[in-house]
Amino acid sequence: MSSRRSRSRQSGASRISDEQIVDLVSRLQQLIPEIRSRRSDKVSASKVLQETCNYIRSLHREVDDLSDRLSELLESTDSDSAQAAIIRSLLM
């Protein structure tokens, strides 16, 4: 293991502890609606990854659906003032 460390030249690359992995996994868990309210010690890392994949797929489907509807809609919205109104309302 130590020989690997001496070969690593990239900045920030180092041996990651199990604790850091556990921390990263629990942060992921907090983002997933399906499992965020469960105690992190009761949800396996494997389950977190599985639910993460399911969640990302559902987010991708939402983007697909919104893209579909927007592609129909914005094609008929032609004025610059309409787009200016959109940006203004988003920035408020």
């Binding site: 690997r4 460390r5 070969r7 690593s8 990239q10 690359a13 180092s14 041996r15 990651i16 850091q20 992995i21 990263l24 996994v25 942060r27 992921l28 983002l31 890392a45 494997s46 990854l49 599985q50 993460t52 994949c53 969640y55 990302i56 797929r57 987010l59 991708h60 939402e62 983007v63 697909d64 919104l66 893209s67 579909d68 509807r69 927007l70 592609s71 129909e72 809609l73 914005l74 094609e75 008929s76 919205t77 032609d78 610059d80 309409a82 787009q83 109104a85 959109i86 940006i87 309302s89 988003l90 920035l91």
Partner: protein, 142 residues
Amino acid sequence: MAMNFHQSAIKTRFAVRFVQAMKRLNKRRGVTTTDSYKRYRATRAAACASMASAVGPQRAWSRAVLSKTKRRRFQAISRKRRLINPRRNLGFGQEEDLRGLVPGGKGMEYCSLLSETAHYIRCLQAQIQVMTDILHHSSSLN
């Protein structure tokens, strides 16, 4: 690996880019107006590229998306590296699945994959919120 995520900044940056991209798309008469499937594909591509552009090159996942559209500029960063932290086998292939879902996931260290995934998810959530807002405002204007 700290995650500085300012969601309102990302949403604004995304919104500006996406609306600009849609304006450019609308100006392109011909294929994009007659073929609704192509229009949908172009809209979705514009959305994903706009979000990656809003994030910039600071994240591996956004670099992976940007390198598809701007090949030359970001090529150097995506060199293959020897994995320092070898993959943990969690069984059932969830890690493999995740690597397939996150842009650039296949070449990442496991810990980077987890960190990149979290950022990617938050960006997708922001992107969906903005696209939904645009949809509602556009519908009420028509």
